[in-house]
Each structure stands twice: as C-alpha cells, then as structure tokens.
Amino acid sequence: MTLPDGQDGSETSAERPEVTSAPAPENTPSGAEGARIEDAGTTPAVDPEAAEAPMTGKRDQEKVTDAEPKPPSAEAPAAAATGEGARPPSAEGEKPKPAAKAARPAKEPEPKTAPKVAPPAGSVNEILAAAIGDVKIEAYLVPDLKGTSVAVEVGRDDVSAVLTACRDDARLDLKYLRCLSGVDWQEEGLEVVYHLSSFTKPHKLTVKTRITYADASVPSVAAVYPAAEWHEREARDMFGIDFPGHPDLRPLLLPEDMTDHFPLRKDNPLQEIEEWQGENLVEGAGDDE
C-alpha cells in the first residue's frame, strides 16, 4: 500500500530545494502555483491572450471591450435580434480590423445549413444502394472526427428496410447502432438520425429520415437493433416522435404523466433564467478581441 520511503521524500525535496515555502513534499500546489505565475509573464511561447481568456483576465477584458465606443451602425441590434449575427467566419480574422467592420453590413447572412457534397465514387452509399435495390436515397458527406463520412437520407417508410440491409448485408456489415437522435428542424419538420458503425469494415454510415409534426412517427427499429429500444423511448419523450412497432414505448426519462409537451422541441422554451444563463455574455462582446 504505502510507498517505499526513499521514493517519495528524497526525490521531491531534491528536485525543489529552492522552494522555501514548501517544506512538506505534499505541499505542491502552492509552490507550483507561484512558479507558474512567474512563468506566465516570461514564456513567449504561450499566447497570453488565449491562455488568459478563460481565466480571471476574461472579465476585465470584456469590460474594456464594453467601454469602447461601439460602431454606431444599425446592424448591431439587428444581429442581436436574429441571435445569429452576420459574422465573418473565423478564417477571416486575419483581415485588418476596420476592413472587417466595414464589410459587416454588406455581408449576407451565413447559410444555416452546410452545403451538401456528394460522396466520392466507391463510398458506402453505393454499396447500400446495391443492397437495397430501388429505395430512393440521397447521400452526402458529413464531417467525421478525422475526415468525412457518408450520410444518407431515406424516406420514413424505408428506414426499417435500409437498417435491416445495413445490418445483414455482408458488404456493409454495419452491426452496431451507436446512437439514435432526434433533431427538431422547425419549419423543415423533425428528423431521426441513426449512427451506424461496423467492426469489420472501415466505413461508417449516418442514416437520416425527415418527418412532419403532423405525422411524427417512424417505424421502430428496436427489432433490428435492440440498442434502439431506449433511444427511441427517449426520442418519444423529448420530441414526441411515435415509433410504431416498439415493444414498450413508456416514458423513460420524463415523468409518466408528462406526455403532452416535448422538452427538446424548439417551440418549448427554456425558463427565462436558463435563457439568461446563455445570453449572459452580451452578444458581440469580445468578438473583436
């Protein structure tokens, strides 16, 4: 259990003879703290601003930014109202400041969705198309942690067939349902997203299906992937999506009598205090460094 005596005491005290305020070897925080603060001023390698930002320095800098006279243009309240703000992407931060600010009113609003790029030939969507026959799929690339992976959009009624093919077809071998999520796209309806992966093949696949609020139901895939059972119950709780064919679609995370409103839908607002938590940082404050 205990450490051999020679290992602990002698080594540490030999390493730090200059720290006089730390007689006990366990008292490392104070000694280290002092050394670190001294270093912070002298180390040029660390970007001081970025390193300080999350720390106490952040508040002060924000106040300074607030005190600066703001550009008297009309786009600031407009940006705050939409909650998005037509900001140039981060790559354009290299531009000199005045130019960037002058360009702001002229900028068109950023697109709300990423452009859809068709996957290259030989991707997993072609294998899928061959496996499921005449089911209509729309394939595009989505970012993966390294590189990209393929996402396919299929019709609601084809989900079971597509996922069964994904699981059973030897060329696809997507036996693992790692995640099932609901997404509320407001005007564009609801979406159910299935993340599949394979243990034997290098590919992954994201299957998506869109549904409307009026007819929010997707056939259950709990029979195909038992892992979907709890995920579907959660999606029903949070988005009110019905999964016909599910063995037991009782509320899972929410109280059993809470079946009338669905927390994760966008029309279900947060409490004011919770919204405030996010809006706490003034829109645009600290934007321009």
Binding site: A51, P251, P255, Q277
Partner: protein, 376 residues
C-alpha cells in the same frame, strides 16, 4: 369454530419487489422492479430519469465554452473523457489544429481519469460482491492520489472544465511530469493490492463467474461499449480502432474477455488500468517540454460554421459520443450526448432474466454506471 375447506394445492405467484431509488446497490438514484419467482428474476423493469436535468436542452442555450462545464456534471467520474468528446466535436467543426503539447496533456489526464474511475469501480464492485469495505479501503487512497493531482492542475476536485475548445485552459504545474510519476508509483501498488485481494479470491470468483454472461452478438446488438463489450470478446476500442487525439502514437494492448460474464468485466478493467499506466508512461516520454497549449488564431467568441459531427471517445465506461448539430453561431442547435452508461444499462433486463436476485446486484455493479450520465 368452523374451518373452511382450503384448496391445499400450492399457488405460485410472481412477486414484484421494488429496489431503489435509494438503495446502496444501485449506485445512485436508480430504481428497478424485480419480478421474482422464488429467488430467480423473471423480469426486471428499470426506472431511470430521477436525475434528469434536461442537459441537452440547457446546452442549446449555452455557448460552446459554457457547455464544457455541463459535461463534467454529466459524467462526474470521467470528466476529462466527457470534456474531450465535447471539445473535439466543436474543434472539428471549427477545423482547429490542436498543438501537440495540449494533445499529450489531454491524453495523460484522460488516462489518469480512467485509472481513477476504475479504482472507483474496484472499490464499489467489491462491496457489491460482499468483500465489504476492504476493497474500498485499498482502492480509494489510490484514487485520492490521482484526484490530488487533478486538483493541482485544474484547481478543482471534480468539475475541472480544464479542456477548452482549441487546447487547455492554462499550462500545467511545473512539476507535472514528476507528480504524474509519483502518482503512478501509487497506482501500480494499488493495482497489485487489488489484484491480490480480488482476482484469485475464491469467494469473489464464485460470486462473479458465469453471471450475466453476454455473447459477442448480444453485446453488439444491445449497443454495449467499453469494458462491457470487450469482456464479451469483441476487441473494439476507439483509441485503437478509430484513433482520435494522439492515441495512434502509443503501443498498448486491448484486453478482451472470453466468457462475457461479470468476472471477465472485472478482469478487463483491471488489465485496462495496466495499459493506461503504460500509455501514460509513453505519453510522458513523448510530451514536448514546451510549446503552445492553445490553438493559434482562436477567436474569443467561439463560432462554428453550420454542420454536424458525431464525436466519440473511449471513456472508462465505453463510447462517449457527442452528436453536435450547428446552424452557425456560438451555440449548438442540437446536442445529443450518447452516454455509455445509458446504452449499457439498456441491456440490464436482458442480462438479469433467469439470474438470481442477488446476482442482479452484481450485474448492475459490473456495468459501472453513473446515474447522472444515464439521465443527463
């Protein structure tokens, strides 16, 4: 007194027994209804949601930097893994390049976190198995050494929020490398102690072996991950099979079980801890002595372009996934946390049916769930 003529034939009924939500064996606020035939479970109905705080909804209102803190509060025994999964998702959408030194420190801390989390498992699981507090007293001091190191580095005991989008919050302490070496001495000793105490302990073996066994096919179908999946014989570890961060620069083994039972899950975790020590040693050797710890040109207000990404890390309990959908701006449009505890727990019913009631406790213990992580 007139006695009625009773029907003397035995009537057999299944007895539902409620267990939890406040029960020492449920490792948190978790309730399950066991439908018993004698001592055998005929059905198990888990009830979760007691700790549900609507984290996914709350994170839609927080900007990307604020969300990091919520990850800590969700997976409070493997905070660094949770933070890493989240910041990697944002970094991928922002296409940030993380400096090497930050990546190595992340790996070292995440692996130390795996050790501390598994020490927690060893202690708690011993209690489930009837070793009483002995395993706890051996495991917890070792966990405490690691906690102390985390406290020195991050300034906090549990809610670190130390991994930031683009790198780290601040530089580690000057004697960090030396301190990690010191902690590893204790860790190795703790591993030896627990190995001697539990692995060949006859009572422990009888209590664990052959219980709650899952085949590889079942484990895959139910979406198990982490040690639960590997104990069933599937050699799948995201650190090796889908490497993120700098894990592809280390050599380590993936322990795999043969039987998929509770005992194998214990063995897999024990071996995993040795491999974690191995990884940390390599990372300490390769750690650049100095260099930036934050990505260059990091804007003060984090904004992602529109898009989506599914980020995943191998957390101590399995695959911690973050499905981040952004419409542009500084907040997630939708954030789904795929927590390993949630997915592993969904197989509880299947695992417990046909087992003794006392073994249901062992099976639940072997899952090593974190209820905050289940309920989010």
């Amino acid at each position: 007194m007139v006695t009625e003529q009773h029907d003397r034939s035995l009537e057999v009924v299944d007895i539902p027994i409620n267990m939890g939500p406040q029960h020492p064996s449920t490792h948190g606020v978790f309730r399950m209804v066991l439908v018993l035939d004698g001592e055998v479970c005929k059905d198990v109905i888990p009830h979760i949601g007691y700790m549900h705080r609507g984290g996914e909804k709350l994170m839609e209102a927080m900007d990307f930097r604020q969300g990091i803190g919520y990850c800590d509060r969700t997976e409070y025994l493997a905070q660094f893994s949770a933070e890493l999964g989240y910041v990697m998702a944002v970094e991928r959408l922002m296409e940030l390049e993380i400096p090497d030194r930050a990546e190595y420190i992340r790996v070292i801390l995440t692996e130390l976190n795996r050790l501390s989390s598994h020490f927690m498992f060893m202690g708690a699981f011993g209690i489930d198995a009837g070793v009483f507090a002995t395993s706890f007293t051996y495991a917890f001091p070792q966990r405490e050494y690691i906690q102390e190191l985390f406290e020195e580095v991050t300034g906090d005991r549990l809610m670190y929020a130390y991994f930031r989008v683009g790198g780290l919050a601040w530089e580690v302490t000057d004697n960090f490398v030396q301190r990690v070496h010191e902690v590893l001495v204790h860790t190795r000793q703790g591993l030896r102690d627990l190995d001697e105490l539990l692995t060949k302990n006859e009572i422990f073996m009888v209590r664990c072996q052959g219980i709650g066994a899952f085949t590889a096919d079942q484990a895959i179908a139910y979406g198990l991950s982490g040690p639960m999946l590997r104990a069933s014989g599937v050699p799948w570890d995201l650190r090796k099979d889908d490497p993120y961060s700098v894990y592809d620069r280390f050599t380590f083994e993936i322990p795999v079980g043969n039987h998929g039972d509770v005992y194998d899950r214990y063995l897999v975790r024990l071996e995993e801890m040795r491999q974690s020590v191995n990884i940390i040693e390599q990372a300490l050797e390769q750690l650049p002595a100095e260099g930036p710890i934050v990505a260059e040109k990091l804007p003060r207000r984090l904004r992602t372009p529109p898009g989506e990404v599914y980020s995943k890390v191998e957390a101590p309990r399995g695959e911690w996934g973050v499905y981040l959908v952004s419409k542009g701006g500084d907040k997630p449009y939708r954030l789904k946390m795929r927590s390993p505890s949630f997915c592993n727990l969904s197989a509880l019913r299947e695992m417990c049916i046909g087992q003794f009631m006392a073994d249901a406790v062992m099976i639940l213990g072997s899952m090593d769930i974190v209820l905050c992580d289940v309920d989010r």
